[in-house]
Amino acid sequence: MLASPLRMHIPDGFLTPAISVVGWGIAVVMIIVALRRTRRQLDDRMVPMMGVLAAFLFAAQAINFPVAAGTSGHLIGAALAAIVMGPWAATLIMTAVLAVQGLLFQDGGLVVMGWNIVNMGVIAAFSGYLAYTLARRLSGESRVAVMAASFAAGWISVVVASLATAIELAASGTSPLVLAVAAMGSVHALIGVGEGVITAAAIGLLLTARPGLLQAGATAPGGRTAAGILVGLAAALLVAAFSPLASPSPDGLEAVSASQGFLGLGQAAPYQILPDYSVPFISHPALTTIAAVMVGTLVVFGGAVLIGRLATRRQAAGL
């Protein structure tokens, strides 16, 4: 349970108080909506179900499997929860998990918990859910399609959440944006494979044991708003990273000057960026890195859809 960079739980002190407050603001709104939507979905089953499933997720995070040379893959679980219960319920479940992890084990800070909830709760759950439903819609009914879509959901949820985390760290001046995105993105692209495999296998088992469960998840509230929320959050994060709200850290704001090289040194002057550059964003290396992650996401998504469609077609042809 170490808070190494391999986990996304941000400790206190790594985000500025201003940004932490913004995170709490977003988290509070999301939690309130999640409570309302989930209440409608589950009625009086909500509290015991969300609580026990949160306990399950926390316990399941201990289930690992050896990947290579001493490292192991394991689960965050937001995508799994979202596929079965819907993204709003998943947000609540993750909130409960993060609250106990933060309060009881200091795994993740208290003041920064807002952002941890947004990253590993809202963003992970919604991006995983969106990936799953889109992939399913495009690839059909076969078992392989469901599992491929689940893999994509798991992988994407982890990578997108890590991207958001990196942007928040950069906006707080804790880490240079390019480095944070590249490091977090690449590490979690690897970890995401573990998440994807476990999610796919878990969903595979549920498909056999209780297929009705997945049908319920498909009609859970949150589907239509998922895309809207993600776009909104993405916009907010990018604005935060490139705006005066960000701390005057060199790399969050300045374009790279050629003589300074990859790490991007330079004196920060937050308000200069707007008048000086007409289209600054295209040349900024951070954006290139972010774009790279997005491309990776599309590749994984596309791959899952392709595999799923092939399998569905084979199944339909009676093979």
Binding site: I10, L35, P48, V52, A54, A55, F58, L92, A183, V197
Partner: protein
């Protein structure tokens, strides 16, 4: 991985333990915020906060080093901030002959300020949970207007984590018992192992879901209808008011002193 959740709480006959949990929760957050607002390089400010934390630890009869010993957990995350040492512009302190990377005094200052902030903040979180039983922390959250349904959900999570962690541990033990290595045969691929792990996760999920249905039935049997019963009320005593006022003033004062502007 076996966690005993109540191990975090250390009962002591101390003044801090007797404080209203709401006061302690608010103070923990205020302390962490103060640490976050301390400007870069405010070493005396950090020292003052650290002394405060140590004093609180003493007042809780937990001993001087209690929180200190447990606070290293977050430090591996510091790697994320390490580049600051190289990227913040300023007075160069060291230049690596191989890569040309420079370490600046300002970079070091920023980095260490961040580390100190984080380390000091975590003392408060550790003390909070050591001096307050978790059910009381939950009650305090509810009393501080955190939605009751959310607090109840967290309560259930806390209650059932142990049960489910136990089931998980048993499954892992069973897996280990059947994971024999045979001479001359390859161990199965990560993909296969991932599949096994996933199947374990899936069946645990089902069991958890079914248990939640049984718990729900038990709640219904005792009259539950979806509304949470109202919280027990606790009077706030004069001592609590005095402590929170004094502590908040002290923190604000520290900030004012440490920030030159």
């Amino acid at each position: 991985m076996h966690f005993d959740l109540t191990d975090q709480y250390r009962p002591r006959p101390s003044f801090v333990h007797h404080l209203d949990p709401r006061v302690k929760v608010v103070l923990a957050f205020a302390f962490i915020l103060t640490a976050g607002l301390m400007p870069i390089g405010a070493w005396s400010g950090f020292a003052a906060l650290l002394i405060l934390a140590l004093a609180a630890s003493m007042a809780s009869r937990l001993g001087l080093a209690f929180a200190l010993r447990r606070s290293y957990i977050a430090l591996p995350f510091a790697l994320v901030a390490l580049p600051l040492v190289f990227t913040v512009p300023g007075e160069v302190v060291y230049q690596s002959p191989l890569t040309g990377w420079t370490i600046t005094a300002q970079g070091l200052e920023r980095f260490w300020s961040l580390i100190l902030r984080s380390w000091i903040a975590i003392q408060a979180a550790i003390l909070l949970i050591a001096a307050t039983p978790f059910p009381d922390v939950l009650w305090a959250l509810g009393a501080l207007r955190v939605p009751r349904l959310l607090v109840a959900t967290i309560g259930f999570m806390y209650r059932y984590f142990f049960v489910l962690a136990d089931e998980t541990a048993r499954m892992l033990r069973a897996r280990a018992a059947r994971s024999a290595k045979v001479e001359g045969r390859r161990t199965p691929s990560p993909l296969w192992q991932g599949g096994v792990a996933g199947a374990m996760v899936g069946s645990l999920f089902l069991r958890a879901l079914e248990r939640s249905e049984r718990v729900h039935a038990a709640m219904l049997a005792r009259g539950y209808n979806g509304q949470m019963p109202s919280l027990a009320r606790r009077a706030i005593r004069r001592m609590d008011r005095v402590v929170i006022l004094a502590a908040l003033l002290l923190l604000v004062g520290l900030l004012a002193w440490a920030r030159p502007s």
